[in-house]
Amino acid sequence: MLNLKGLAAGICVATALVSSAAASETVVWWDFLSGGDGVRMKQMIQDFNKEHEGQITIDATTLEWGVPFYSKVQTSAAVGEAPDIMTYHASRIPLAVEQGILTEVTSADWQQMGLGKNDYADATWDAVTIDGKQYAVPLDTHPVVLYYNKDILGKAGLLTENGVPKGMDSRDGFTATLQALKAAGVKYPLGSVTADGNFMFRTIYSLMGQQDGVLMSGDEFLAGDNAEKLQNALAVLQDWTNEGLQSTYTDYPATVALFTSGEAAMMINGVWEVPTMTDAHAKGKLFEWGAVELPVIFDHPSTYADSHTFAIPANKGKEMSKARHDAVLEVMSWISRNSLFWATAGHIPAYGPVTNSAEYKAMEPNATYSSLTANMIFDPKSPKAGIAGPIFDVMSSYFVPTLNGEMEPAKAVEEIKYELNDL
């Protein structure tokens, strides 16, 4: 399906370096990728192992995403039981560096991998850089998008001639679309992960970004009118709940299930669910669907994104051998170069030569939502930020009650502000 060989050209150098080591190296790998994108990654690992038979074998494990994954990494590194390589969210790198659980990727390493600053967008390179040193190899950028059921929206007359939902340019417009769906008898016009505050951070932060709101100004959280912008974002979502326009108390798997079973007409979710839809559709088990950039609810388009990266844990009291280190570098290099396949998992590869290729530019549905790359915002670069980090932890506690109508947005913002500044 994809021409991987063409991209693999530069690998020979690195492979030659590795094969100079006599014995076969086993690289212990941890990731948290387990949906449709996990299936893609397993495929890539298999391909890697096949191509490196007798030299390197990846021994991969998939752990539970979020708090469980990062707690395990933290305690494992402290007792020398961490893996050789792991996937890591770029947003969490400042915290990890502060905790001393990541090994620096030195300029010699970059050279050996045949990768470097020029292969990545500035923001991506900056995300893995702390005090001028790099701590991870970027793999992708993964924003959230709006998934929609073309069959349902089409029947309700809510698609434009381009086949995208109507009313994507304003709060009123989008709410009208949701109301029309409700009137057409759709149980949940919008599927939202309203039971999981960690997840909702993405949507809410995007809506803050649409008003140019920021979380941190210097060391202060939600300074000035930023608190109000957060409140606006929460208020929109709570209104949708109050009007019965979105699913309430819905956890992650249930949200996906509501959308794929046709009970929810639209869904805000990460691009990593693209392969779930593609695969189900290919099997004839899914309706016609699409994915577009989030609607503009406030002033201008803005979408929250994070990056998956590869990092090498700093195992306490356990130095990694040269041969193992070389093998790990080969893994990171190979996967980066072959990340065109990773794009089929919905993600936007970080490696420039891949995203600049004609094949990538023609890929669907990625091409439809790729416009959003111009409007992406990232977590504040702080040891308090990141998936399952302290900011996530505080904010998520108040998102769930607010989004489900248990708590007033103003009250939630007040509590969040107090707790964040108390960190």
Partner: protein
């Protein structure tokens, strides 16, 4: 000889019980991370607790959970055991097996089954709400319902154990007493209140004591059911110890919470022991 016989036990006890207990107290006065040394900070970790919102949540939820499970759980088991006691032969074994089965299942299995049964969108229990014309309740996602729901599941899970104890207690009551009662023309309620309940009292006290000490140490169910939801609203003390130590990497602060729970359990156990002894003595 005696030394040889007690040696394995004493060695194990010293290593995994006495030593860690002493270390826990020492750790609670330091600012150490989970692994590694820290500085002595005196009572600082304890002084933080009264102002610590999460500690309040954890403390409150722990006692709330105890209230929701201990007495209700004991009564449910008592009623079920009396029902089973009336049955005979194969039917009795079968019914007992149905009630007892959950107890031997691992907590993860109990979690997966109930998380599915009570799933807000797809759970079969929600169809009961629909059918009754009531609004569905997101039991594991709303703070108001979380603890009662976990308490309910816990009773379902552990009742088998208490039922067995009650059955044994009921069988220990000589049948002559019941024959005498029926000759007295005593009704079922008065038989229960004058014969069964007083004679079952020691078992009831035993069951509720075991439950009380067990439920103060609640962690597994609360942790599992709050995954993907709102753990910070559902904290219990052991969970908070885990969160501080293993998620925030604050060994010292975690140890201070652990010491508080340690003291609570011991105080409650001693009080409970005294109370049951007193009330048991009076009834004799």
């Amino acid at each position: 000889m005696a030394v040889l016989l007690i040696l394995p036990f004493v060695a194990i006890y010293g290593l995994v019980f006495i030593y860690p207990t002493i270390k826990m107290f020492i750790l609670s006065f330091t600012d150490a991370p989970l692994i590694g040394a820290g500085d002595w900070v005196g009572l600082e970790n304890y002084e933080r607790l009264p102002r610590d919102r999460r500690f309040h949540t954890a403390l409150w939820n722990t006692f709330y959970f105890v209230a929701l499970t201990v007495i209700p759980g004991t009564l449910v088991a008592l009623v079920i055991s009396l029902g089973i006691n009336r049955l005979k032969g194969r039917l009795q074994s079968l019914v007992l097996a149905l009630f007892f089965l959950p107890y031997i299942l691992p907590v993860s299995v109990v979690y997966l089954i109930w998380d599915w049964t009570l799933n807000f969108q797809f759970g079969i229990a929600m169809h009961l709400f629909d059918w009754a014309g009531a609004d569905r309740i997101p039991v594991f996602k709303s703070t108001a319902w979380f603890m009662p729901a976990v308490g309910f599941v816990t009773i379902w899970w552990t009742a088998g154990f208490s039922i067995l104890l009650f059955l044994a207690g009921r069988r220990a009551i000589p049948e002559e007493i019941y024959e005498a009662a029926s000759l007295d023309n005593s009704g079922s309620w008065s038989t229960f209140s004058r014969v069964t309940w007083p004679l079952m009292w020691p078992v009831t006290a035993l069951v509720s004591t075991i439950q009380l000490i067990l439920q103060l140490k609640i962690f597994d169910q609360v942790y599992l059911f709050s995954q993907g939801g709102r753990p910070n609203d559902n904290l219990v003390l052991v969970y908070y110890v885990f969160q501080r130590a293993f998620q925030s990497n604050q060994g010292g602060r975690a140890a201070a919470v652990a010491v508080v729970l340690f003291v609570i359990v011991i105080v409650v156990s001693v009080l409970n022991f005294q109370l049951t002894r007193l009330s048991g003595g009076r009834r004799k």
